[in-house]
């Protein structure tokens, strides 16, 4: 016990001496939480629309007004030819072309049938899919308006209609930041915990001070614990700062119990620190440790369900995500913070994470050799 206390003293002194680590601890939550949610706004809006109106009728005008009034679309160009509009797509000035053919109004009234042509720049799949869906929706609504205008009231009612009401739970304003902030907080905790612990031991190796520790009677698990505890505390500090910042700036208050949230973070940090230690036992230089950490971080973040939903991944990828600790944290954070889930809902996640912590740390202790 006394040994650990001395080791802890040493670690804390080293941490507080290193200005770049302190800066990282304070700046990372601020920068990430201030800029990332602003940048990571996947809400589909401001879709640039080019309209090729060959009809110039009241109907085509009404339709365009209806589209621009929806708030999703910005009218980038009007009139001209399809070729010109296509050129706008090629130069990324427009995302969507709506072509209204000549005689749109006349044909619609006379022949009861008229086609509209929409071309979407689909390089960005999400935007194209949603943008196209919005536009078709507006056109369908417009179509209904016209029918109501032409038919005697009451006639439409003779057709059986299913009335669909849709409700959005947990985030009724459909605010994208609410979705991103808990996820970014999860990445933050992982980065701080993982990178710091990995770089720390490797630095002792590179500088050679680890030899001095190796010749002392300090036990393996003492050493590892002495390294774990300071960064575990730091991780908690960073997480608390992050939670505070997200309340201060985005007004996000966890719906669920804070104790549930923190106990998950406690177990999670153990797992991530264990991973950092493991990486450090396999590397010799800081550069190597940095690159290997970076490599895994990349995979963790991409396969963590932050940007794309895990459900739509193929089966093999879903299996891979089961070994990604970040995936569980992101899920749990969203569940507790946004939906107010409790002990019962996250118990499986908590158990899995405990297993991660035990396996990774045992592995790291076994692999750490006092003699080389």
């Amino acid at each position: 016990m006394r040994t650990i206390r001395f080791l802890l003293q040493k670690e804390f002194k080293q941490i507080f001496r290193n200005k770049s680590i302190l800066a990282m601890i304070l700046m990372m939550p601020l920068i990430q939480l201030l800029i990332m949610p602003l940048a990571a706004d996947y809400e589909v809006k401001n879709i640039n629309l080019a309209v090729v109106d060959n009809d110039h009728s009241t109907y085509s005008q009404n339709l365009i007004t209806k589209i621009t009034a929806s708030g999703y679309f910005k009218l980038q160009s009007y009139g001209g030819s399809f070729k010109e509009a296509f050129h706008l797509i090629e130069s990324d000035k427009a995302d969507l072309i709506l072509e209204i053919s000549n005689g749109f109004e006349r044909n619609l009234v006379r022949e009861n049938e008229q086609k509209l042509f929409v071309a979407v720049n689909a390089i960005n799949g999400t935007k194209a899919g949603l943008g196209g869906a919005y536009l078709t929706n507006i056109i369908t609504n417009f179509n209904n308006d016209i029918r109501l205008e032409w038919l005697q009231p009451g006639k439409v009612n003779t057709i059986p209609q299913i009335e669909i009401t849709s409700t959005n739970w947990f985030n009724p304003m459909m605010n994208y930041k609410v979705f991103m902030v808990p996820g970014i907080l999860a990445i933050l905790v992982t980065m701080v915990g993982g990178f710091l612990s990995a770089l720390n031991i490797v630095k002792e190796k590179e500088v050679g001070t680890i030899e001095q520790i190796n010749v002392t009677p300090i036990k393996k698990h003492h050493f590892i614990l002495g390294k774990l505890i300071p960064f575990w505390i730091l991780g908690n500090v960073v997480f608390s700062i992050g939670l505070f910042v997200s309340w201060l700036i985005y007004g996000i208050v966890p719906l669920g119990n804070l104790l549930v949230l923190y106990s998950f973070i406690w177990v999670y940090l153990l797992a991530v620190l264990g991973f950092g230690l493991l990486v450090s036992t396999y590397t010799e230089t800081q550069q190597q440790a940095m690159f290997i950490m970076f490599f895994f971080m990349m995979i963790f973040i991409l396969m963590g369900g932050l940007f794309t939903s895990i459900d739509s991944m193929p089966a093999w990828a879903q299996t891979v995500t089961k070994f990604n600790p970040l995936r569980y944290l992101i899920e749990v954070m969203r569940m507790i913070i946004l939906k107010g889930s409790g002990w019962k809902d996250i118990s499986v996640h908590l158990m899995t994470m405990a297993l991660f912590a035990i396996v990774l740390n045992t592995w790291a202790v076994i692999n750490y050799k006092k003699t080389s």
Partner: protein
């Protein structure tokens, strides 16, 4: 010239000796392409939903069959009351719930009106939107089938054509982005670290007192990374063509020429960082925070630039990767020629020249 080749050779030895880093350098783009190509899709499929059927009649059953027949949804369970729906949402088991009102069939046929409610888990707004749209479309379809006998007048049909990427795959967006990011990582970070390492270990002094021109010492450091980057470009392109089926529609020569330009931009940036810093850790932090993070955020492949607040949009203009991303997209996917991207090329060239001159100015031969 002979001296220069000898120096370049020395640098190659340095690079090739560190196997672990090398493995990551070549493994990274491969992993990224595979993850982006196969694992990450923006399309929604197999989403888990719950259905609460308060009516249990023929029509509601038919609609349920129709929903479960589509690829988009997996019906997780048929719940029997509202509480169960709420707890299923909280456990994260479902993303959407469909609720049929009582006497659905009866109301529909006799009052011509029946209510159906869709509840979406909007913690993820885009998925919620997409799923709601899909369910509505399925129900709308069913309704049109039901009403086949009475044709509606004044039909506007919309024909939607998806350009460049008809299946709405994520790859089209990601491959150019991954290219920009990997090149940034290899060229900026590795160059910066390798030069600073010589400073840190003191071998830089030895190089500087040699009869060889100091500027060429630095230049010879950049050459191996130019090669490594080109190997990475080639491997990314090969993977994307043969594994991801993403064809290169434009000219390959032009694509490589632009890549070389971007690599040179990155190398000058790396050299600039290495001249300004003295320790590996600082160089790493600067290239990570100052280069890689902005590249990820502002190049436009992960986060949509047009949604950002104006100050961030302005900042995005000084990020070289943004211009490279536009260029690669134009050549690879849209198949455009040089006339469409001369402006972006000029900007990249300008940035390179700026940092080159700045590096030359601040490069010191003497120790402080």
């Amino acid at each position: 010239m002979k001296q220069f080749i000898i120096f370049v050779k020395k640098e190659f030895y340095h690079v090739l000796r560190d196997r672990k880093t090398l493995l990551i350098l070549f493994g990274m783009p491969v992993m990224q392409i595979l993850i982006f190509g196969f694992a990450l899709t923006n399309e929604v499929k197999n989403s888990k939903i719950a259905i609460l059927d308060n009516s249990k009649d023929m029509i509601s059953q038919q609609i349920i069959d129709k929903i479960s027949a589509s690829n988009y949804f997996d019906i997780e369970k048929t719940v029997s009351n509202n509480q169960q729906i709420e707890s299923a949402f909280k456990e994260g088991k479902i993303k959407l719930a469909v609720i049929f009102s009582e006497n659905f069939n009866h109301n529909l046929l006799h009052q011509n009106k029946a209510q159906l409610q869709i509840i979406a888990d909007a913690t993820d707004p885009n998925t919620a939107n997409t799923l709601t749209n899909y369910v509505s479309a399925i129900i709308f379809d069913y309704q049109t089938q039901l009403n086949k006998t009475t044709t509606l007048p004044f039909n506007i049909t919309t024909e939607v054509k998806m350009l460049y990427n008809p299946q709405l795959k994520g790859v089209y967006n990601f491959v150019p982005g991954v290219m920009a990011m990997v090149l940034m990582l290899v060229s900026v970070m590795m160059t910066a670290i390798s030069i600073v390492k010589e400073k840190e270990t003191g071998t830089m002094e030895i190089l500087l007192v040699s009869p060889f021109k100091p500027a060429l010492v630095i230049l010879s450091k950049a050459v191996p990374y130019l090669f490594l980057s080109l190997v990475n470009v080639a491997s990314i392109l090969l993977l994307s063509v043969y594994v991801l089926d993403l064809p290169i529609t434009g000219s390959i020569v032009l694509l490589f020429a632009e890549s070389v330009l971007f690599i040179i931009t990155c190398l000058t940036l790396g050299i600039f960082i290495s001249i300004k810093t003295n320790s590996q850790q600082v160089a790493m932090l600067i290239s990570l925070m100052g280069m890689l993070l902005p590249t990820m955020m502002f190049s436009g492949f992960m986060f949509p630039i047009e949604n950002m607040p104006v100050p961030l949009q302005v900042i995005s203009n000084i990020i070289p990767a943004k211009w490279f991303y536009i260029i690669v997209k134009a050549i690879m996917i849209k198949g455009l020629g040089f006339s469409a991207i001369w402006k972006e090329t000029l900007i990249l060239g300008g940035i390179t020249l700026f940092f080159f001159v700045l590096s030359l100015k601040s490069f010191k031969i003497r120790l402080e």
